[in-house]
């Protein structure tokens, strides 16, 4: 195993060991150790809840995120290309941006009731703004020479968008998508803690309320962290594609 793999592994092992140590020396605290948590995960799997909750959370993220993407990219392209439209709407975006998606929960419940749709709506909101702004900024950062060249070769507008605009913004967009996905994952968990009856967020709240099962609480947290990493790694894979790689500084 190469040295570069060894160090991260060591780091994780040290952290886990410290965790176990902390728990063993303070038996009165309710916090579970790594072993109890591992057993908790096993229990969830045995009860069939593991798969059910993970799927529920992923389902909501996927729908909310993809819907936001489909709206944000064309919107961002249109705003990026029309300076006036952007100037008009920018202050509104700036005021909406600091509002936590969770602050929309009352409105979400009002419009969609308690359930999947509310959660999806919240994720949609949480992803829409960052993705739109990122697309807009990416359009601004396109080298004008490329757009001029496209006009020079007589490429019609539609083709200019698909053959030049979109490929040119892809590197920045993919990075923003990765970050937005991370945020969406955070939001889904929070939304589930408040507004629905299944999923990993719900697991955490429920495990505590229905019997102080802190081993399951931490098990939920570990699962959330792990899936978050997996999603992040998947997006980074996309960043390595040839048609995207060119946009990042020398590797």
């Amino acid at each position: 195993m190469s040295r570069s793999r060894l160090l991260p592994l060591t780091g994780i092992l040290v952290a886990v060991a410290a965790w176990q140590l902390g728990v063993s020396t303070h038996p009165s605290s309710l916090i579970p150790g790594p072993i109890a948590v591992a057993r908790g995960i096993g229990e969830l799997a045995a009860r069939g809840l593991l798969v059910k909750y993970v799927v529920a959370s992923l389902f909501r993220v996927t729908w909310g995120y993809l819907t936001a993407l489909i709206v944000a990219v064309p919107l961002g392209l249109a705003l990026g290309m029309r300076r006036r439209a952007e100037a008009a709407i920018n202050p509104v975006l700036q005021v909406l941006r600091p509002i936590s998606p969770l602050a929309w929960i009352p409105i979400a419940i009002l419009w969609f009731g308690v359930g999947d749709l509310s959660a999806i709506f919240l994720i949609f909101l949480a992803s829409l703004l960052p993705l739109t702004v990122a697309t807009m900024n990416a359009v601004h950062n396109i080298d004008p020479i490329h757009l001029a060249a496209a006009r020079n070769f007589g490429i019609p507008l539609r083709a200019r968008i698909t053959r030049v605009l979109v490929p040119a913004i892809l590197p920045q967009l993919i990075v923003a998508m990765r970050i937005a996905l991370g945020v969406a994952w955070l939001v889904v968990v929070a939304a589930e803690m408040i507004a629905v009856n299944s999923g990993l967020g719900f697991l955490i709240v429920d495990a505590r309320n229905a019997g102080n099962r802190y081993d399951l609480v931490v098990a939920g947290m570990v699962l959330i962290g792990a899936i978050g990493i997996v999603l992040d790694l998947l997006m980074r894979r996309i960043e390595r594609l040839d048609s995207v790689r060119w946009g990042y500084a020398a590797e």
């Binding site: 570069s4 160090l7 991260p8 592994l9 060591t10 780091g11 994780i12 040290v14 605290s29 309710l30 916090i31 300076r83 006036r84 100037a87 008009a88 709407i89 920018n90 202050p91 509104v92 700036q94 005021v95 909406l96 941006r97 600091p98 509002i99 936590s100 998606p101 969770l102 602050a103 929309w104 929960i105 009352p106 409105i107 419940i109 009002l110 991370g182 994952w185 955070l186 939001v187 968990v189 929070a190 803690m193 408040i194 967020g201 955490i204 709240v205 505590r208 802190y214 609480v217 931490v218 939920g220 947290m221 959330i224 962290g225 792990a226 899936i227 978050g228 990493i229 999603l231 992040d232």
Partner: protein, 251 residues
């Protein structure tokens, strides 16, 4: 049209027009849908007015601000030194980074149950969550800032005979300052969002609490929307304030 006129028009008139259109559409939608619950713009404005009269609003704002600054300060004090350390020492970074990457995607709210165990229901819980959420971006920003100090600056410093400590103070810190401030601004944005979310669950005052309470204690959606607007505007003001600091520093 001279270029100066152009930009005032764009920066002022167009956004105002957009806001006017939004308010008009909102008003019309409320009227035509005959909803009894969703507030009209006028209702929201008057709600803000009423809140302003009662000292409650100012108390809530003060509480929110106190919490966010406290948590944010903790994150800075803990995060910047650690970030520097990790940026300076690549091996340490490789060891510790995975632990950070693992913990980061776990929604701050998912830490809530643990926070309650450790701190009970009090101001400390939201402060802990805010600190936790801001901690990661600050560490990463500081780490990347230090890592990306152009090697030629360090070489020049050593050339002039600076010790490591002096190098840190006279070369590294000025070099990374602009970049760290940007990271700090982004981290504050996160802190603000987490503040609101944390207040929706764990305390009984503050802007986040206002939103949840207004709904629960009587479906006062005019207060809900008023609260959201306040959150957006105050968050924007704070963000602009940090941007000013950024600009001031980089000159």
């Amino acid at each position: 049209m001279s270029s100066i006129e152009h930009s005032t028009f764009e920066k002022l008139v167009l956004p105002l027009l957009t806001v006017a259109v939004i308010i008009a559409t909102w008003s019309a939608a409320v009227k035509f849908s005959g909803t009894k619950i969703f507030p009209s713009p006028i209702a929201v404005a008057s709600a803000i007015g009423t809140l302003g009269e009662k000292s409650l609003l100012w108390r809530y704002i003060a509480d929110s601000l106190t919490r966010v600054f406290a948590g944010y300060a903790v994150a800075i004090v803990a995060g910047i030194p650690l970030g520097f350390l990790l940026g300076w020492n690549a091996s340490l970074a490789r060891a510790v980074n995975p632990v950070i990457q693992m913990l980061r995607p776990i929604s701050p709210l998912a830490w809530m149950p643990l926070a309650v165990i450790w701190f009970g229901v009090s101001n400390a819980a939201p402060i802990f969550l805010i600190a936790l959420a801001s901690f990661f971006p600050i560490v990463v920003a500081a780490m990347n800032g230090v890592r990306n100090v152009p090697p030629m600056y360090l070489q020049a410093g050593r050339n002039f005979g600076l010790s490591t400590w002096q190098l840190m103070i006279r070369v590294v810190i000025p070099a990374v300052l602009p970049r760290i401030i940007v990271g700090l601004r982004l981290a504050f944005g996160i802190a603000w969002v987490v503040l609101v979310a944390a207040e929706m669950i764990a305390v009984d005052s503050g802007l986040g609490y206002l939103i949840i309470d207004a709904r629960n204690a009587g479906k006062r959606y005019d207060l809900v929307v008023a609260g959201m607007l306040l959150i957006g505007v105050i968050g924007l003001l704070l963000d602009t304030g940090i941007r000013r600091v950024e600009e001031w520093i980089s000159e």
